[in-house]
């Protein structure tokens, strides 16, 4: 047999298991245009639905006249709230415990809100139908500023107010004002305030993390097909959590869950945009039920930017206290969170501000207090985690800016300040002041490696020289060194404290080994470009000893895949990856018994070796996993059921805490406000590395989205609530031209509680990247007195900073 002459190294290589830069199996179809996205789905007689949207940010709906629209050739139906009301579907529950109008019920709360749903034979007829729907609006006072909203007499959401006009309690407790949604607290207020009030040094800063938007290349959409004969509803869509969508659809429609099949086909990027439940889904389902035909709804780019799930919009105020030597003693953070017209944040139920309480960052801060106030305004709902775990970009931006401000206050080097305050390796598992238990870390090693690689001291010397040259009139360019050290909290999460709509945030994997030694594994997650079909097969290859190339990974079809909570918040590897390893181990345990039987020894006398079980001490006696697989199906083995299958539902004991050290070097043209990124170094520690090439790809992508957000990507509103950045001309999506060369690096600190020690990486670069780019710009102006300026740092705002510092005089 060939096996006998193959070396152990070759056998390992053949598996393409963990640690190997296996090429992405998905790319063959994607690079040939053979992907199958929701808009590629075409069914017989399929109709197209699209929305009449509100041009106003706040208005009463006086009347909707659909008669002219119904005359438009090809238009079959126009749904309004009145049509949905008898079904109880004119409103729907949000993931945050609030409710949201499916179609405008008496008023609209944001520009672009869904007012009526036009169903037509194709999207062209639907577009003409939309033009013909006549809606009479009566404009109301617009509130786009959450601070003003909290003082205004205008009641944005009359449905949340008791009869006496007082705000009714919300999903997260009492409310302070009729436009207030919740207050959420973590940590110890008294001791924190006392520490800060009596501290030697205190740095304070107010910062606004602007509203932006995840911008997947593919927008949101679905195809709903109700088969009236068998009563089954099939729903294809861009769902990051297909199983949760099935449950939600069942709960709100009353259709029994076994009669609903949700399928997420190929998804062209999600970044949090595709987690929520949107009116388009509900309307498509209703339209399919009403017409008896499949109905497709696909957002266009403007719809996507203006309506489905924004990210951030956090007004943050911080106070950090320290000793004169720079040891941090306390941290206080207050957030006013602008949630728009409905609270549709996608967070675990008990966390209305997500994991914002990771805002003590990578530092050993003995006492801290966080308070978040959610507020209604006339903006689109959402508040998703855009390429990050729940609100973690906000938290990390906050602390990484506060560190820089404190460094200024202390007149200290910001790299050194970080080093002084890092949680030490021996402190892990580390219990943070705001509640989390960090699993593992070695921050000092990572930081020192990063600083050394970029020659940090050399850079600082160069920067000092540049400042001198600038002051001497020899240059108009300043140099900024951006530092960022982040700790993410990903892999939500333990069922004891993490659920969405009551669904525990475990995940799952089901494996079937075929007789000839290949396999299929199905998971409760769904790839949107992360390469699950590649990496999960690698985990399994290492666990069960069959080549990754012989393992099919399937996700996204609720009729076949085991239940899971989906893919976002970097949870796939920490949770479903763990389930995969655990299911693989069940396979291996049974394989061990089969091998022992075949080798005629006791179970404990065989051991696993790469792709086989060998008799201990007699390596020439073995059975390969391929042979064992066949035996599982063709032999009657006493005491063992035929077949080789396993399923595992994994409830993680803790989150995982990836971390990293990023450094950016930038040159800034003071006169035009143009930043030029000269160097970007990213060291990531995501624990065990499954596929280094995929990790690098994820880091490049995450950094590019970080660059976008830091340097210009914004959803901006004018005072009337009009979206000013509704197209890609104004909404910054970087091209290859704007993106620098990234240098990637790593350390490996495995997660102690994860079966394979992996922590997740897809979102880290975004979380760490945003403050790094921002800090580089702020650092360039530090020698001239800059403390903090808000993102996005587009040309004019950088110019404005220079201008206000007197650098143009």
């Amino acid at each position: 047999m060939k096996d006998e002459v193959t070396s152990r190294e070759e056998r390992i290589e053949n598996l393409k298991g963990m640690g190997c830069s296996r090429k992405r199996v998905e790319d063959a179809r994607f690079t040939q245009g053979k992907g199958n996205y929701v808009d590629d789905i075409k069914l017989d007689g399929m109709l197209f639905g699209d929305f009449v949207r509100s041009p106003y940010a706040h208005a009463k709906i006086v009347n909707i006249d659909t008669s002219a629209a119904l005359e438009v050739p090809g238009v079959l139906a126009v749904l309004t709230a009145k049509d949905l009301e008898p079904l109880g579907l004119h409103w729907m529950p949000t993931l945050a415990g609030d409710r949201q109008m499916v179609l405008a019920d008496g008023k609209v709360l944001f520009q672009g809100q869904e007012v009526a749903f036009v169903v037509a034979v194709d999207r062209y007829a639907a577009a003409d139908g939309i033009e013909a729907v006549e809606v009479e609006y009566e404009e109301l006072e617009v509130l786009v500023d959450p601070f003003k909203a909290m003082k205004s007499d205008v009641v944005l959401r009359p449905d949340t107010v008791a009869e006496d006009g007082s705000p009714a309690a919300g999903a997260h407790g009492p409310r302070k004002h009729h436009n207030h949604i919740f207050t959420w607290e973590a940590g110890d207020k008294g001791p924190t305030f006392e520490t800060i009030d009596n501290a030697e040094v205190v740095a304070e800063e107010t910062m606004y993390y602007h509203r932006t938007h995840p911008c997947p290349l593919e927008t949101c959409g679905c195809v709903a097909s109700m088969d009236k004969v068998n009563g089954k509803l099939t729903l294809w869509g861009t769902f990051q959590a297909p199983h949760a969508i099935r449950t939600v659809v069942s709960l709100i429609s009353g259709i029994e869950e076994h009669n609903i099949r949700v399928i997420s086909p190929d998804i062209g990027g999600g970044f949090g945009n595709k987690v929520g439940a949107y009116p388009g889904y509900v309307c498509s389902v209703v339209a399919s039920i009403v017409t008896g035909k499949p109905v497709k709804w696909i957002e266009d780019r403007m719809d996507n930017l203006m309506t489905t799930a924004f990210a951030r919009d956090y007004h943050m105020t911080g106070r950090v206290s320290a000793t004169r030597e720079g040891k941090i003693t306390g941290l206080h953070c207050h957030v006013t969170a602008d949630h728009g017209g409905f609270d549709a944040c996608a967070d675990p139920t008990k966390f209305p501000a997500g994991f914002m309480n990771i805002c003590t960052g990578s530092y050993d801060i003995p006492t801290a207090f966080l308070q978040v106030d959610g507020v209604y305004t006339n903006k689109a709902p959402g508040g998703v985690s855009y390429r990050c775990s729940f609100r973690v970009t906000e938290a990390v931006y906050f602390i990484e800016r506060m560190i820089e401000v404190l460094a200024i206050e202390l007149n200290m080097d910001a790299a050194e300040l970080r080093r002084i305050n890092f949680i030490k390796k021996e402190q892990f598992p580390y219990k943070a002041a705001l509640g989390w238990e960090y699993d593992s870390g070695d921050y000092h090693t990572a930081w020192d490696k990063a600083l050394k690689t970029v020659d940090y001291e050399g850079l600082r010397a160069e920067q000092a020289q540049r400042v001198e040259d600038f002051k001497a009139g020899k240059t108009r360019s300043l140099m900024g060194i951006g530092l960022s050290f982040f700790t993410e909290i990903v892999g939500a999460g333990p069922v004891k404290n993490c659920d969405i709509l009551g669904l525990g945030m475990f995940d799952s994997c089901e494996i079937r080994i075929h007789p000839t030694g290949s396999a299929i594994a199905r998971l409760g997650t769904i790839s949107q470009g992360q390469g699950h079909a590649t990496t999960f097969a690698q985990i399994l290859a290492s666990e069960i000893g069959l080549p990754a190339d012989s393992i099919t990974i399937e996700e996204g079809d609720t009729d076949t895949a085991p239940y899971g909570l989906g893919t976002y918040g970097s949870r796939s590897t920490p949770v479903a990856g763990a389930a995969t390893a655990m299911a693989g181990r069940k396979i291996r345990a049974k394989a061990q018994m089969i091998a022992a039987y075949l080798l005629e020894v006791h179970d404990n006398d065989v051991e696993f070796d790469v792709d086989r079980f060998v008799v201990k001490g007699a390596p020439e006696k073995f059975k390969t996993m391929k042979e064992i697989a066949f035996a599982a199906y063709n032999q009657a083995i006493p005491g063992i059921e035929p077949g080789l299958e396993a399923v595992s539902y994994y409830d993680p004991p803790n989150m995982t805490y990836p971390f990293g050290a990023y450094i950016c070097v930038m040159d800034i043209d003071v006169d035009t406000g143009l930043p030029e990124i000269r160097r970007f170094y990213a060291l990531d520690d995501c624990g065990t590395r499954i596929n280094p090439m995929i990790i690098e790809g994820q880091v490049h992508g995450g950094l590019t989205e970080a660059l976008a957000v830091a340097l210009g990507q914004e959803i901006a509103y004018d005072d009337m609530g009009n979206v000013k950045t509704g197209t890609l001309m104004d909404f910054f999506l970087p091209t290859a031209w704007e993106v620098p060369n990234y240098e990637t690096d790593y350390t490996v600190t495995p997660s102690p509680h994860h079966p394979i020690g992996a922590k997740g990486v897809g979102e880290s670069p975004h979380v760490g990247g945003v403050p790094c780019f921002s800090n580089a710009i702020q650092d360039a102006f530090r020698p001239f007195g800059n403390r903090h300026t808000n993102m996005p740092h587009d040309h004019w705002r950088i110019w404005k900073t220079a201008n206000e510092l007197g650098l143009h005089d």
Binding site: D128, T672, G712, F732, W737, D794
Partner: protein
């Protein structure tokens, strides 16, 4: 993002184009590359019941260069401009400017005629053509006529071209001296925050002629004669450049948009013009 229904016409010659224009008047519009017009139709900001595609008309895709003049057919694409070696020799500013328009995909489709006829203050070629003192040839029911680029632009989307006329060619005197097209934009594919086209002739260390035009800083391109005049007769010392910038700032009238407020735009316009002048001078 779907345009209202329209009738699509694809005539084979100019006579066909003109007769459709005459028949439908305001309701008809010609389309060249479509990369300004189609987005406007999709946003339903332009309502074009009769769309006349110029692709089959012929005779408008040549670049002819002789000793004194360059004639560029209206259907010559921005990519053709970049690709033409002889043109790059004769008028290098055209290539420098074209490379700063949009991205390669847009430049394969977008035409010179469409760019100058469009009348959008964001377009780069109108200012460029004013700098080069180009002449636009249009043909209509009453035959052909020439209009100077410097006289062509009246307001945003309002030009001296009549609704029933088609622009057929752009003619420019072969430019002399040093050149520069300097443009600040937020990203690839963006219109200018500010852009300057500069052509300077130098003789024995002093400037004998200078032509300056600015883009996206008013509702039309701005040919600033005063800015050019401020340089003539000087050795382009700092005072001369300052005077040119000041003169230009008097001529422009930017408005606030997502690129920034007026003060920023004026400042950047000054910086961009200075850089363009310095680069053109270094090449003169």
């Amino acid at each position: 993002m779907i345009p209202a229904a329209f009738e699509y016409h694809r005539p084979k010659d100019m006579a066909g184009v003109l007769s459709i224009l005459e028949e439908h008047g305001d309701d008809a519009r010609v389309m060249a590359g479509g990369h300004s017009l189609i987005p406007m139709m999709k946003l339903r900001m332009a309502d074009v019941p009769h769309l006349i595609d110029l692709q089959d008309v012929g005779g408008m895709s040549d670049i002819e260069i002789d000793a004194d003049t360059i004639r560029i057919g209206a259907m010559v694409t921005q990519h053709d401009i970049i690709d033409n070696e002889a043109l790059a020799q004769a008028a290098p500013i055209l290539r420098e400017a074209a490379l700063q328009i949009a991205d390669p995909q847009v430049r394969y489709m977008g035409t010179v005629g469409g760019n100058v006829a469009n009348g959008d203050p964001g377009n780069d070629m109108p200012g460029l053509m004013q700098c080069l003192d180009a002449t636009f040839t249009v043909v209509g029911p009453d035959g052909e006529r020439d209009i100077a680029a410097r006289e062509f632009y009246e307001a945003a989307y309002m030009t001296a071209r009549g609704d029933e006329e088609v622009l057929t060619a752009v003619t420019i005197p072969v430019p002399m001296g040093g050149y520069a097209y300097e443009k600040q934009k937020r990203k690839i594919g963006d219109y200018a925050t500010a852009a300057a086209a500069v052509q300077i002739v130098k003789d024995g260390g002093s400037c004998v002629s200078a032509s300056i035009a600015m883009t996206n800083l008013s509702d039309t391109p701005i040919y600033s004669e005063a800015a050019g005049d401020a340089l003539v007769g000087t050795s382009l010392d700092d005072a001369a450049i300052k005077a040119a910038v000041a003169a230009m700032l008097d001529d422009i009238d930017p408005t606030e948009d997502n690129r920034g407020p007026v003060a920023f735009k004026k400042h950047v316009a000054g910086v961009i013009l200075r850089r363009a002048i310095e680069r053109a001078w270094s090449r003169a």
